[in-house]
């Protein structure tokens, strides 16, 4: 049977192998469309043939929920992530707290983040900096990229001395070092909700459950995610 999954682009590394081994096991064919959560949500809103949606933030999932496009009772918070401060490979680790001299560390440079009002990683980052009282100071120095990966690229290329990205992204790029982890309580919890759409097949529901299963958990954790309990 064919199962179509719409998933946030940043999940590809972890999700591809999970789907592959699931497909091998069940003979289902799993097609995963990776794109930005906003685009995927809108497409589902306008009738995309998705069975399962894994979003990188709750807002878009909420929207689909309100519109009654989700199969009742299938929504769950699947994964979580952590927000980290990254820098050049040889940069010194720092303690992230209200005393962090972020502006000093930046010097003339820019702080790379995702769009702080639009892209989840940017929104979380801004919230964290705000709650730590650091935001007003660094706000003018922020370079906002259209997604986390571009923010990471700015740091990796040495254009920005520091950046705020997900732990999963930081892990995968050898050109950057994680300088510190933002305290969980400094920002709303980062969740990747998943749900089946209203007309998902039983096979799709089974795959959704598999995503919450132990084998998937191993893969997700290997990629740096925190698996949230069902």
């Amino acid at each position: 049977e064919e199962i179509t999954v719409f998933a946030a682009a940043s999940l590809q590394t972890a999700l591809d192998p999970i789907a592959e081994s699931y497909a091998a096991r069940t003979n289902d064919e799993i097609r995963i469309s990776y794109a930005g959560s906003s685009a995927l949500a809108r497409q589902i809103e306008y009738g995309a043939p998705a069975d399962i949606f894994v979003s990188a933030n709750s807002d878009w999932m909420d929207l689909l929920d309100e519109r009654g496009l989700l199969a009742p009772g299938t929504r769950r918070d699947l994964l979580s992530n952590r927000l980290v401060l990254i820098g050049a490979r040889d940069a010194e680790p720092v303690d992230i707290g209200p005393d962090l001299a972020l502006a000093e560390l930046l010097g003339e440079g820019r702080l790379a983040m995702a769009l702080v009002d639009a892209v989840p990683a940017g929104i979380y980052g801004k919230a964290a900096l705000t709650s730590l009282g650091l935001w007003p100071e660094v706000a003018p120095r922020v370079a906002q990229a259209d997604n986390v990966r571009s923010a990471l690229a700015l740091v990796a290329a040495g254009e920005a001395p520091l950046g705020i990205v997900y732990a999963t992204d930081a892990m995968a790029d050898p050109r950057v070092a994680t300088l510190g982890v933002f305290p969980d309580e400094s920002h709303p919890m980062i969740v990747y909700p998943a749900a089946a759409t209203a007309d998902a097949s039983p096979a799709a529901l089974a795959f959704l459950d598999a995503l919450s299963g132990p084998e998937a958990a191993t893969r997700f954790e290997a990629a740096g995610f925190t698996v949230l309990p069902r």
Binding site: R31, Y46, A48, R149, T168
Partner: protein
């Protein structure tokens, strides 16, 4: 080549199919539009001109979104078209539509410039020899603008190969259906460590487009030589 996986070959094949169809199907319409803009004075000419350029002016995401609204299964055009068996939503046909629309202004401009360069006295000569307007177009204007048509087609093809913003927003990124080279590259760039995979696809993309470009140059030189009689 073994360094491209089967999924990647699929993306290459799909990109070719999408770009070719986008180019071939829009060509007659492009020629007609260019002719109308170059030669006819009618109310609404400026509006048509504006509409043609719209995909160039708008961020591709917006164009994709508008396509989704219009040609999605729920859209004012998508619905009726679906009734008669033409479906764009989340099909490769939709990717071709998006690519075609994004490339349309480039194609039309190139052809229009060529039409404007045709000496109207040659067309008048054809008329006195008994050729009616459409015949004049086919036997005089069209052969003379062939280099421009070729240029327009190759621009459109190249643009179609590179298009992803509108495509991914409109028809998502479904493997085997709407996952073109460009969207695949985009998706790879979104995941940690995807750069090298992206690079491989970029190379493939460049090779194909350069091939098309050189073919067009070669044809164009031949056509020009025929016309100039040298």
């Amino acid at each position: 080549m073994t360094w491209l996986g089967p999924e990647e070959w699929e993306a290459v094949a799909l990109s070719l199919k999408v770009s070719l169809w986008a180019t071939v199907v829009s060509l007659p319409l492009g020629i007609l539009t260019a002719y109308a803009l170059a030669r006819w004075r009618f109310p609404g000419r400026q509006i048509l001109n504006g509409l043609v350029h719209l995909p160039l002016i708008l961020p591709p995401v917006v164009t994709g979104y508008l396509l989704l609204l219009t040609f999605g299964t729920q859209g004012p055009l998508g619905g009726p078209l679906q009734e008669i068996g033409i479906v764009f939503a989340f099909r490769w046909t939709g990717a071709a539509l998006a690519a075609g629309i994004m490339a349309f202004p480039l194609m039309v401009r190139a052809i229009r410039l060529s039409i404007e360069a045709v000496d109207p006295r040659l067309e008048a000569a054809a008329t006195t020899l008994g050729a009616a307007r459409p015949m004049v177009f086919l036997t005089v204007t069209l052969p003379l603008i062939l280099p421009g048509v070729l240029a327009g087609a190759v621009l459109a093809f190249a643009k179609a190969m590179g298009e992803f913003g509108a495509t991914i927003t409109f028809v998502s990124n479904i493997p085997g259906e709407t996952r073109t080279l460009s969207t695949a590259i985009y998706a790879f760039l979104q995941i940690p460590g995807g750069d090298s995979s992206a690079l491989r696809l970029v190379v493939v993309s460049i090779v194909i487009a350069m091939g098309a470009l050189m073919l067009a140059e070669w044809l164009s030189v031949r056509v020009a030589r025929r016309v100039s009689g040298r």
